[in-house]
Subunit: 422 residues, 3 copies
């Protein structure tokens, strides 16, 4: 430890941001509404911190240019195992991850990282969100998620009013107000990227999301913990769906291909509409890119282990690679599976989407009792863990875990979509 501490002291001499205290992390404020942020490009690395380690790392910020991505910022965390790119300008979404040879992401027809100032969520009858949709993981929420359409709200006069909700809400198109990189000053030098995204309306929700993505050099895993706080004295409904999307890219990288399959222990699988009902029996498997394919959407009821955690995995065709997501079913009771195996050019992708709700319009979720409410001042934390398996044994281990969760429970394949109010 002595050598490292000396190295850190040396860094402190030349870099006033770094702090030579093991108890607190190195901390870099990249974005701030308080004026204490670092401007321009940013780069920090194990080397720049004077750390000698077998698991080097770095964090870099860059700004995109051209077209509708002008001014969008990206932050990328690099380790030997992972390259994780986030978009603070778009609500701290994860754009893509490279995990060794395995690429996680999808090749959306939206090939730019669209700056929110070019997005009109209300356009196309409330479908404007899809003009910027291309992330590996984008949050849907916070005031509302799911389908567009009319819902009631309370106006400034205390009277009920009606408003048109927009697809998947606003949080994915709000730039972060504060972004920090924190790096533990002791091995394993855990890296945390935190972003505060604020979704506030004067007469309406005052919801803040503090998002933290953490990764430990040496591991093929990362974790997201989001804390949503109701900063009002009135209670506030909220919704959150982790719209996590996997496809394949031009180079053929990616976990989704013909024969890939999804694994998740679930009490039931319910088609969201009649079209999806027709393909229900094949819900776990994927077709190859299919021009003209119409999306299938299934609503699942995941089974948790004794710690309360569920797991879902997307596995490649020969079961040599997979990605697993783990979360608490108390925090995220519902799981939506989106299968959109259309042509590559049209967005060949599947979504594994744990959420506080299903993606119906909020009025339907409210009526179904799937709409959480935050009391005045209340915070709620949600954690989703991601890990990548890059050999058959690791994949099998995840599949065994899921099989065990399902053990003794028959999955009810519901043949008819739910009847929902108009």
């Amino acid at each position: 430890m002595l050598r490292i501490t000396l190295a850190m002291c040396l860094v402190c001499t030349v870099n006033h941001v770094a702090q030579a205290d093991e108890a607190v992390p190195w901390r870099y404020v990249l974005t701030s509404t308080e004026g204490d942020a670092e401007a321009g490009d940013f780069f920090v690395s194990a080397e720049s911190l004077g750390i000698e380690t077998d698991e080097p790392f770095s964090v870099r910020r860059e700004t995109l240019h051209g077209g509708r991505q002008e001014g969008c910022e990206l932050i990328t965390i690099y380790t030997n195992q992972l390259q994780i790119t986030l978009v603070p300008t778009r609500g701290m979404s994860i754009l893509s991850v490279q995990a060794g040879d395995i690429w996680l992401g999808w090749d959306s027809p939206i090939d730019e990282v669209v700056h929110p100032s070019y997005i009109n969520l209300d356009s196309r009858g409330g479908l404007g969100w899809i003009e910027g949709f291309n992330e590996l993981m984008v949050r849907c929420g916070l005031e509302f998620a799911g389908h567009p359409g009319t819902d009631v709200f309370t106006t400034n006069t205390g009277d009920p009013g009606e408003m048109d909700l927009t697809l998947h809400g606003k949080i994915g198109n709000i730039p972060a107000s504060r972004v920090e990189v924190r790096i533990q000053q002791v091995p394993p030098y855990r890296i945390t990227l935190s972003g505060l995204v604020s979704e506030r309306v004067f007469f309406g929700p005052k919801l803040d999301m503090n998002s933290e993505l953490s990764v430990t050099p040496g591991e093929s895993a990362w974790s997201i913990t989001d804390t949503v706080t109701n900063d009002s004295t009135a209670e506030q409904e909220f919704e959150m769906i982790y719209h996590t999307n996997f496809g394949t890219n031009d180079a053929g990288a990616g976990l989704l291909a013909e024969g890939s399959r999804v694994a998740v222990a679930t009490r039931s699988v319910t088609p969201m509409n009649a079209h999806s009902a027709g393909n229900l029996d094949d819900w776990t498997t994927y077709a190859g890119p299919t021009p003209g394919f119409i999306e299938d959407v299934y609503l699942l009821d995941p089974i948790a282990n004794e710690s309360g955690n569920a797991v879902a995995a997307l596995v490649n065709a020969d079961q040599t690679a997979s990605v697993a997501m783990r979360w608490s079913t108390e925090e995220l009771p519902y799981f939506t599976l989106w299968k959109n195996t259309t042509a590559l050019a049209d967005g060949y992708v599947t979504g594994l989407e744990p959420g506080t709700c299903y993606p119906y319009n909020r009025r339907i979720e409210r009526a179904a009792g799937r709409l959480p409410v935050l009391a005045a001042g209340e915070s709620r934390s949600i954690t989703v863990d991601f890990s990548v398996q890059s050999d058959a044994a690791a994949v099998e281990s995840v599949l065994d875990e899921i099989t065990e969760l399902q053990d003794g429970v028959d999955t009810d394949l519901v043949r008819e979509p739910p009847v929902v109010p108009e």
Copy 2:
């Protein structure tokens, strides 16, 4: 004077912007669509101008970063008595004023100075304006102000069409096209910040507002004069409400608290809706922060003095501090009082709002005969003077002035809200 003139000449040598002519002001173009503006941060002060004075002053421009305030500019005028912060990016609104110990502003749940490119006025059924609402003074207008809802307009074919008006119009979310600082070259070195805000639609209004805020070092007062010009050959309706908002902040500063009261000589007070009617008898006094409080809105008919000017004041509970607004009732005949004494976290605030109209939808204002029309090429100027009283004697003097205006006129407390067309 000789010494000062020499100093100014010296300044001219090193700063080509300054002009050594007493007859014209120093002039700095901060923003311009003509390409003659100064870029980046800006600072000028009595000292930088070589002025020796007991009443120093300065003007500073800064650019905000982070979240939805990325790129918003602020301009602050500093004197010994006042610190006035304007937002040229948001229609020359006044964000807040510090007058000695007295802070004027409010602690909106919208805690960022939101850049207009993030505001969709049409969202939330035309209530998008409230996603950026946090100023001490924001203008509502110019094509329309007041409540959202359908109104008629003339289309490009000359036929009548319908459009959905949006809450409080566009002017508060249009960045200024030209911003100038002018400083008198002779004592008392009056400072004027002018901003041109242009609200133009090809088939529609061609309205330009030239706004001037003036402050004299040594005084606890400032003045706004807006000149609205119809740059079309067709006549053009317009509306303007000076939505001036006072609250209190986390540190307890601010004029609004339990026991504060509003004073304005008025022929009548009419509740805008049934809810407000219930609290009519308490229209002059304020509650403390009250979670769940529903706004009360009252429509007043201010009494002017023989010069044609009305005055309204907000007075703190122990009558040791107040802010007074003065305006011509010919220019601004109507006055709306907005009482929104909700919890601090939800926006504890009151609005004192002289206007060309009340805040009903424009179609209602038109039907009521409260909608001014500018002839082709016509300009109309509106002045609102603000002053701060910081001791009991000064407060009493303002209250006496208001009492005298009311003298001999009974205020008609109208018990029922007006009947307005659907």
Copy 3:
């Protein structure tokens, strides 16, 4: 040639972008989403390239500031004959052209080059487009052009949905993703400015437009070739109208004035509405600026020559100056004439508008069989050539050409506007 080649080699030494190969052009990437673009102001000229020529040229990029034009980029091509200003930030529109003494453009009441982030196309009942409308040539399209109003589309579930189209579509308010300047390395040093504008929606069109504007030093002519590609595996409807607008400016420059006239060989002229029907007999001539004038719109059926090309010209009153447009009627079968001879302050202008369609709402164009469809992966190129005539002989030559095209064909003046579905 040797001297020039040496000069070019010298340039290569000091400017690594230039390439000393006659077979390929000098190429400068000004904007790119790939990160290979030149930042900041840009300037290249015959002189900076070391070319000795009697026809010098230059290309300059600048960035606009102030008001709603903050951040908008302009690119201007200068030759001895022409000064052509394009707006890559606004879909590669042409803002204006100066051709010797002849100014082409118009003095829109929208006097700023509005950045798309300030435009809400859905506002004003789908008329938001007109808040930025001031170009000499702006494209209407690509997913839809023409009047706002409801049309059907296919939703993500494969079901039919309805959406509100917005006036003249999106392409004119999308910033270019890639902008290149290419200059031939051999005389006549033809200059091409190419811009890729991408109009993509996840569930919706994946249309890319590669636009090329070419000009040859020494000529009073320029050419636009746009290639629209459907990058989906599904077929895709598209529309394109070249909304080319001529007026006059404060200084009296411009081809439009009382007595100006439009010349185009056409099988028929049909008024778009009853108002225009009343002025049908005067369809070729223009009034001077007329306050309160209501637009007239005529639908034409242009006659092509044996090469398939049509020509339209706007001629000044004394027939000493004109601008001519030439295009293939296979590419652009329809021609709309917009006469908006209102007051100068309100936008005195006429539009000569070849298109794939007329400017009705897309549902009407579809029903009328005027809606082209691109197959999966299909590209379609459209070329419009512009030339300026600056003396009576040149004007007469163009008029003779048009007269010859019309020869033997009576123009059918249709007295009633078409009956179109509601």
